[in-house]
């Protein structure tokens, strides 16, 4: 790693101030960023660790909305997001136990890895991404490979998930990395069904609108029978070609619908 300083502010305000410095970079749980630094693929002057900021940690329910602080670890979401069981189950299967002890929901969403789990939950739930100065709808937030609506120095302080009537996440695990080769999050709300796919597209998480329409009309795996997910723009690599991933999208969506509760 190149040399850098690490600061540990205790408030969001202090973190925002620190991030205004030249070549400053936010550090969440570090489970992606630290390996990146080791490979010398990033060279910040200062890392602003968000792990000492208590005001962005924790899970709380307010009516039909589950709010999760941006600095909340996957392990905490797995243990405390019982009001949204599909979300808690997703968190419980990210990476491995050590990754879940450190990795945070804000860090995952800010990084927007095309194979990460959380982006699918946020997009399928039409969650609201809350930052230090605004709120962003999930539909506007995800903008492509490792690209989001966040500005330089902007911190995710929380995520607000509307709790669905039924939901489920199915991940076809890439066994070496524990990321999703294809992951599908299905969430059923009073006004319709949303289906978000991760791991598959070269542009990151996306909604499968044909499946959403079919499932909104009839919420059953059978409603998906006539559909085929398009292989256009899907990831083609040694772990699976685009046609294989397209096939998996349908299989995982059907499984998610069958298991949704």
């Amino acid at each position: 790693m190149y040399a850098f300083d690490v600061t540990r502010p205790k408030t969001v305000a202090d973190a925002v101030a620190a991030l205004a410095g030249e070549d400053a970079q936010a550090l969440g749980g570090g489970q992606t960023l630290i390996p990146t630094l080791k490979q010398r693929l990033a060279s910040p002057a200062v890392l602003v660790s968000l792990s000492a900021i208590d005001e962005i940690k924790g899970v709380c329910q307010d009516g039909n909305v589950l709010s999760i602080g941006g600095g909340t670890t996957h392990a905490t979401v797995a243990a405390e997001a019982g009001a949204y069981p599909a979300l808690a189950a997703l968190a419980a299967n990210i990476g491995d136990p050590a990754v879940r002890s450190r990795g945070t929901i804000g860090g995952s969403l800010a990084n927007n890895d095309p194979s990460a789990c959380y982006p699918s939950a946020a997009l399928a739930s039409n969650a609201t991404i809350v930052t230090n100065n605004r709120e962003i709808a999930a539909d506007d937030y995800f903008q492509g490979l490792f690209t989001t609506a966040l500005n330089e120095g902007e911190i995710i302080t929380g995520v607000k998930f509307p709790i669905p009537q039924a939901a489920n996440y199915q991940k076809f695990v890439q066994p070496a990395s524990r990321f999703s080769l294809v992951g599908v999050f299905v969430a059923k709300y009073a006004d319709g069904v949303r289906v978000a796919v991760t791991g598959a597209s070269e542009n990151g998480v996306f909604r499968w609108s044909e499946a959403e329409a079919a499932l909104s009309a009839s919420f059953s795996a059978a409603a998906l029978e006539g559909l085929t997910a398009s292989a256009d723009g899907l990831i083609n690599d040694l772990h699976g070609d685009a046609e294989y991933r397209a096939h998996l999208i349908k299989v995982m969506t059907k499984r998610a619908v069958a298991a949704a509760k």
Binding site: A3, F4, V6, K38, G95, D96, A98, V99, S101, R178
Partner: protein, 161 residues
């Protein structure tokens, strides 16, 4: 350099570290606690697993300054007070849960973290919990068996007799 202090295996320690100093390097180089191993240095293998404030972490994927003020547990702190092997360590020995032994510190720390929250895990739960710990010798069967035995369960029917 930043001055940090933490409790490691119940002992108060201090040291001066750079921002980029990893927790594993602080443990091994500054404190000479070389039981914690660096296997891959890419956050895959889990040989460097330690406990920070009771939680299992990969010490190669956390900066030492982030552990400032924390309680850290390493494999050197796992033995009984009289220096004898813990129940878990003894079970690894009894059931041949290691061959070369390089992954063993991480396996012990991961397993003890599991048994704290789940005193009688099933074989499937153990395998799920060990997903971040790689062993290239054993094929895992005897590691799983040792952990089941350490939790007081009958292992006579577990694979790899």
């Amino acid at each position: 350099m930043t001055k940090i202090s933490m409790t490691v295996n119940g002992r108060q320690v201090t040291g001066d570290v750079e921002g980029r100093t990893l927790l594993v390097d602080f443990l091994r180089e500054n404190l000479r606690l070389t039981g914690t191993h660096v296997g891959c240095d890419t956050s895959q293998c889990g040989a460097c697993t330690v406990h920070v404030n009771g939680l299992q972490v990969k010490s190669c994927t956390m900066f030492a300054v982030e552990a400032d003020g924390a309680e850290v547990g390493t494999v050197e702190g796992q033995q009984n007070a009289d220096g004898s092997l813990s129940t878990l360590q003894a079970a690894f020995q009894e059931h041949h849960g290691l061959q070369c032994g390089f992954c063993t510190p991480g396996m012990i720390m991961a397993a003890s973290s599991l048994l704290k929250v789940n005193p009688k895990p099933t074989e499937a739960e153990i395998r799920h919990h060990l997903e971040g710990n790689i062993c290239r010798c054993t094929g895992y069967h005897n590691i799983v068996k040792a952990i089941m035995a350490a939790s007081g369960q009958d292992v006579s029917k577990i694979a790899a007799e």
